[in-house]
């Protein structure tokens, strides 16, 4: 009865955003077919979340919900919640996404990563697990807009991490999934992830340095 997949418009907007970012920084979009698709996919969520943050756009929110809420619910079920509890908590997570959309920093994380952290925190609460205090957050000052190229690179790195996980040997991949579903203790986690985290870490480090600089 309802058609709740109005993806054409936001996708086109995301593509336009990527075009604009590329043009601004003199990056050729030709000859990098795969990463172009990757960036578009991740950039789409960034654009949509920004619309949620700045325009209170419920259509954009609906699209984010359609994609992420079932994943969050599945994540919570995998972590030990029953269906009813998982559904209720997934709803809470999506309300938090709406409320905190303006705090999302696309130079330091993908939308999926940011939503994962919200879902993880909700899960700890839900299952009455050990409290998880967080380090003092470094937030962007009003004048310190994240650099657009940083944003695009970060989104691309995040997409590449997804392919990297897919191409891990099954044993390692299962270990990682179990760890993030909260199924492994510290001592059960393997010493090596087998994932190339160096690049993504360096990107975030750079973004942090810029932030520290802009704050000082």
């Amino acid at each position: 009865m309802f058609d709740i997949t109005p993806q054409t418009l936001p996708s086109r907007q995301a593509a336009a955003a990527v075009d604009m970012l590329c043009a601004q920084h003199g990056i050729s979009r030709r000859g990098k077919r795969q990463s172009e698709v990757d960036v578009q996919n991740a950039a789409k969520w960034v654009v949509l979340l920004e619309k949620v943050a700045t325009e209170q756009d419920t259509d954009a929110f609906t699209e984010v919900f359609e994609h992420f809420a079932p994943r969050v619910k599945g994540f919570l079920i995998k972590s030990g919640a029953d269906h009813a509890m998982a559904e209720e908590c997934a709803q809470d997570v999506m309300v938090t996404v709406w409320n905190k959309a303006a705090q999302f920093d696309p130079a330091r994380a993908s939308v999926a990563t940011w939503i994962f952290t919200i879902a993880r925190n909700r899960r700890i609460d839900m299952l009455r697990r050990d409290r998880r205090p967080e380090p003092e957050e470094l937030t962007w000052g009003p004048e310190a807009e994240p650099d657009q190229l940083d944003v695009m690179t970060m989104q691309q790195e995040s997409e590449q991490l997804i392919s990297a996980i897919a191409s891990l040997p099954e044993k390692q991949r299962v270990m990682i999934e179990r760890a993030y579903f909260g199924d492994l203790t510290h001592s059960e986690i393997a010493e090596e992830t087998g994932l190339p985290l160096g690049t993504i870490k360096s990107r975030i480090r750079l973004a942090l340095e810029r932030l520290r600089h802009s704050l000082s």
């Binding site: 309802f2 709740i4 419920t58 929110f61 609906t62 919900f65 809420a69 079932p70 994943r71 619910k73 599945g74 994540f75 998982a86 997934a90 999506m94 709406w98 409320n99 705090q103 330091r108 994380a109 993908s110 999926a112 990563t113 939503i115 994962f116 993880r120 697990r129 050990d130 409290r131 998880r132 205090p133 967080e134 380090p135 003092e136 957050e137 470094l138 937030t139 000052g141 790195e157 995040s158 991490l161 997804i162 990297a164 996980i165 760890a179 993030y180 909260g182 492994l184 510290h186 001592s187 393997a190 010493e191 090596e192 992830t193 985290l197 993504i200 975030i204 942090l208 340095e209 520290r212």
Partner: protein
């Protein structure tokens, strides 16, 4: 400059939210002082994001009613709160960074120390029972009682420095010790040393007296 960092295992366990509270406290307090580990943690969170994004086969359908219910919750709650302002002001001028400062209820001068002998003082920080967190105050040049470990111990330096047989640790450095580690850390001359020490098992002291006193000291 910080030269002793968190391990990948600890970062992954913190990112996935499965550590005991006392360990979470030590990890978060180190990250508050260490941008390298802050960036590494973000890369471990990115694995969580990728796991979530990939989880098409575990995704559980949400009904259209749930979407409508969520939208109406959003509508009913009214305008959103403004995002928190920059955390710069709270970063500097403190010996105890957040989140440790909130656990203590203030900075170093607010810690309620207890003498444990030899000039060494400690203050247990209440956390869940799965592990123990305490602040240690070791006068400059004094030794922490020689001890081995049953489980894992993290020691995060907040002021001064200590050295054991192998290495030197100063503010922001975190030492990760396990079953095999037997050491005698000594606070460096120049400043009294304050550390956050976290264990998931009681320490085993080597001397007879400390071992007898252990149950009473709560360490």
């Amino acid at each position: 400059m910080i030269t002793h960092h968190l391990s990948d295992k600890l970062l992954m366990a913190y990112s996935s939210g499965t550590l005991p509270e006392a360990f979470n406290l030590a990890v978060a307090t180190h990250i508050a002082m260490c941008d390298e580990c802050r960036a590494r943690l973000a890369s471990f969170d990115a694995i969580g994001g990728a796991v979530l994004e990939r989880a098409e086969d575990t995704a559980a359908p949400m009904s259209h009613e749930t979407l409508l219910a969520t939208l109406s919750r959003i509508k009913d709650q009214g305008p959103r709160e403004q995002a928190a302002q920059s955390g710069r002001a709270t970063q500097e001028g403190w010996t105890l960074p957040e989140p440790l400062r909130s656990y203590v209820g203030g900075d170093v001068q607010d810690v309620k120390w207890r003498n444990v002998g030899g000039g060494v003082r400690q203050a247990v920080i209440p956390t869940s029972e799965n592990a123990t967190a305490r602040l240690l105050y070791i006068p400059a040049g004094k030794a922490v009682p020689d001890h081995g470990h049953h489980g894992m111990e993290l020691t995060l330096v907040l002021q001064g420095a200590f050295a054991d047989e192998e290495d030197c640790f100063s503010r922001g450095d975190i030492e990760i010790a396990d079953e095999g580690t037997e050491h005698q850390p000594i606070a460096q001359v120049g400043a009294d040393c304050i550390c956050l020490a976290v264990t998931d098992a009681p320490l085993k002291f080597r001397g007879l007296l400390p071992r007898l006193a252990q149950p009473f000291l709560g360490i």
